[in-house]
């Protein structure tokens, strides 16, 4: 299992568009990917789940992945968040 903790940096947090980007990216991987914020865990391939996290700017998110491509999945999602979803 691979995991990483990241901080949401873009000003509006994970609103609709970033949620969509996360799901699109996560869905490209075979691994099972979960996002955890303050103890609430959701499937990174579910846009409803990701939006329910309501992760605002500054909140910490734990990404865990389990599967053949777990390393790549965590790295790719971390990059997306770090690049502020290419919004700013």
């Amino acid at each position: 299992m691979e995991e990483a903790t990241i901080t949401i940096l873009n000003k509006l947090g994970i609103h609709v568009r970033p949620a969509a980007l996360i799901v699109q990216l996560a869905s490209k991987f075979e691994s099972e990917i979960k996002l955890n914020k303050d103890g609430v865990e959701v499937d990174a391939k579910s846009i409803m789940g990701v939006m329910m996290l309501a992760a605002g700017m500054g909140s910490k998110l734990k990404i865990t992945a389990e599967g053949r491509d777990e390393k790549e999945a965590v790295a790719a999602l971390g990059d997306l968040v770090e690049a502020k979803f290419n919004e700013e």
Partner: protein, 582 residues
């Protein structure tokens, strides 16, 4: 047939609309829990998948017809309908509970909505409309009662809804819609901004109207006064048809003024600017023929769970500055406290919040927070003509202290090599009586004054205007308030600074003549009031206005002043009359 009924709301886009009500469903997400026999469960699931693919086809079409931001929104809606986890859970529940999918789907969507709607962060609350949108679209197919789609309207209608979402307005056949009425919303909600850009009348905040209106009912919508009349009597109808015709002629006159300056026949020029609070409103200023932004309120940025950082604030301020081109933009530093709740500063409950820690007081007690806003404003000043304005100043000490923080912010930016306008103007709101009385001492400290008549009136007269027991005493045309205004203008001019006014009084055409005569250099009003005030300025000689101001200052009662000014207006601008009616 039921009787005429009047409902009050907030007029957010002027004009009168008379027509049939088109009621957008309110409770589309509620479906009764219908038990499904075991052998029908798989059919129920198939029906669900069919409804999903119909909804997806509609969304794909909407997405392909739109661009940019909106395109992205519909794309995300599509993803919600393809969410494997969400859909799997719903199907599982249908199989386990053997209840109709409409009921379960509706409940799940409501769950997401109430979760997001309960959050403090405005951006997430805003997602609720998106999810409701997707949910109702699927529900319409599930229940087979697809709501009459706005895209196929055959006759002219007034759209009545609990709230309007961007996808409602995007697919509307706009030429058929002659007015909006919604239960939710304020001056800067989506419905209001959309109505003003379509130039159709709209009333928002008309609570419980959906329960009162039947589809096809006749409606009168008065977007000026915020009044909605259901099933108007023949007399009312006749009256409003006349009002509408007069308004139409009047609008025509006003629109001819759009590109002309606000200058009196004898050459006195006034800067006619606008008060705004959402950056999108800056576009409206030019459309209405206004000059710059006389007051950009920044409170809305801070009314949420996480404070905006410097970059986010900079983006918002820059958007306004860019929209205003080379016209000035006065940004007011945040005026929290008073009636604007702030959870970030652990302000203990104050017995008298309007006399408490609000405006500049709160900022000076939270320097770090204040400086972030000042840095953001300073950075935006590199892009145009920006002014900084402090609210709730009561004396010289506060101005000096606040200017000290501006200096610190400038130093920091210089040190970091970040550009800003070195000559940026710094001014104050004059709204606390002590500031008005001390105007001659404050003037040397600043580049401008802007008189805030709403607070000045309430503080000067010791009247809380939302208190129904005393609200009859709230009158900005009170001799004491006018004397203060006049004194502030004189003091400012003696010291060579410009003096503006950004309270609601400036949007009152009767008062505008007297204000013009007192020598105000700038009037800042809501974008929608710009045309009528421009008409008054262009039609009143400055010499006459000066005489009027002098006379007004000699009248002893508020009633006397109002009668005098309204009589004058009626005489000189009879065409302004249709705006105010029974």
């Amino acid at each position: 047939m039921r009787n005429e009924r009047r409902i009050g709301g907030i007029g957010v886009s002027p004009g009168v609309a008379i027509g049939k009500a088109f009621l957008l469903g309110v409770d589309e997400l509620k479906a009764p829990p219908v038990k499904i026999p075991l052998h029908k469960v798989e059919d129920e699931i198939k029906g669900f998948r069919r409804a999903l693919s119909q909804a997806k086809r509609e969304l794909a079409r909407l997405r392909d017809d739109s661009q940019g931001e909106v395109e992205g929104i519909f794309g995300a809606h599509l993803m919600m309908l393809e969410d494997p986890v969400f859909l799997r859970e719903i199907e599982k529940e249908v199989r386990e509970k053997r209840l109709s999918v409409a009921h379960i789907f509706g409940e799940r969507i409501e769950e997401v909505i109430s979760h997001l709607g309960g959050l403090e962060d405005e951006h997430f609350r805003g997602r609720v409309a998106d999810i409701r949108d997707v949910g109702t679209r699927v529900m319409a197919h599930l229940l087979g009662t697809e709501r009459e789609v706005l895209a196929y309207l055959q006759e002219e209608v007034i759209v009545v809804a609990h709230d309007l979402s961007p996808s409602d307005t995007a697919q509307m056949r706009k030429e058929r819609v002659i007015g909006f009425v919604t239960e939710l919303g304020g001056r800067t909600s989506h419905t209001a901004i959309m109505a003003r850009s379509l130039e159709i009348p709209a009333v928002v905040g008309a609570s419980r109207i959906c329960g009162e209106v039947n589809p096809g009912d006749m409606l009168v919508v008065d977007g000026q006064t915020g009044r909605v009349i259901l099933r108007p009597s023949p007399t009312t109808l006749k009256e409003y048809r006349q009002v509408k015709a007069r308004l139409k002629r009047f609008e025509k006159t006003l629109s001819r003024l759009r590109d002309l300056p606000a200058v009196t026949p004898d050459g006195r020029r006034v800067e006619l600017s606008a008060n705004i609070e959402a950056p999108e409103e800056a576009e409206e200023i030019r459309r209405k023929g206004g000059y710059g932004t006389g007051l950009f309120r920044t409170e809305y940025l801070f009314m949420r769970a996480t404070l905006p950082g410097e970059d986010e604030q900079f983006e918002v301020y820059s958007q306004v500055v860019r929209s205003c081109g080379d016209c000035p933009v006065i940004i007011r530093t945040v005026d929290l406290g008073g009636d604007k709740f702030v959870s970030h500063f652990r302000v203990p409950r104050e017995v008298n919040p309007f006399l408490g820690r609000r405006g500049i007081r709160l900022c000076l007690q939270n320097r770090g927070f204040f400086k972030i806003q000042l840095r953001a404003i300073l950075r935006a000043s590199a892009l145009g003509r920006v002014g900084i304005m402090f609210p709730m100043v009561s004396g010289v000490g506060e101005v000096r202290e606040a200017k000290g923080v501006v200096e610190e912010a400038k130093q920091e930016l210089r040190g970091q090599g970040i550009e800003f306008d070195e000559g940026i103007q710094v001014g104050i709101m004059v709204e606390v009586p002590s500031a008005a009385i001390l105007a001659d001492l404050l003037a040397p400290e600043v580049n401008f004054f802007s008189i805030g008549t709403n607070d000045l009136t309430q503080y000067c007269l010791a009247v809380d205007r939302v208190n129904p027991n005393v609200s009859y005493l709230y009158e900005p045309l009170h001799p004491a308030v006018l004397k203060l205004i006049n004194q502030v203008v004189e003091a400012g001019h003696r010291q060579g600074i410009w003096v503006g006014l950004c309270g609601e009084l400036g949007a009152d055409p009767a008062a505008a003549v007297a204000l013009l005569g007192m020598g105000l250099d700038e009037l800042s009003v809501s974008p929608m009031a710009i045309p009528q005030i421009k008409l008054v300025i262009r039609g009143t000689a400055y010499s006459l206005a000066q005489r009027v101001a002098k006379e007004v200052l000699a009248i002893t009662t508020p009633q006397g002043i109002r009668e005098y000014l309204e009589g004058l207006l009626k005489n000189n601008f009879p065409q302004l009359n249709p705006v105010h009616h029974g």
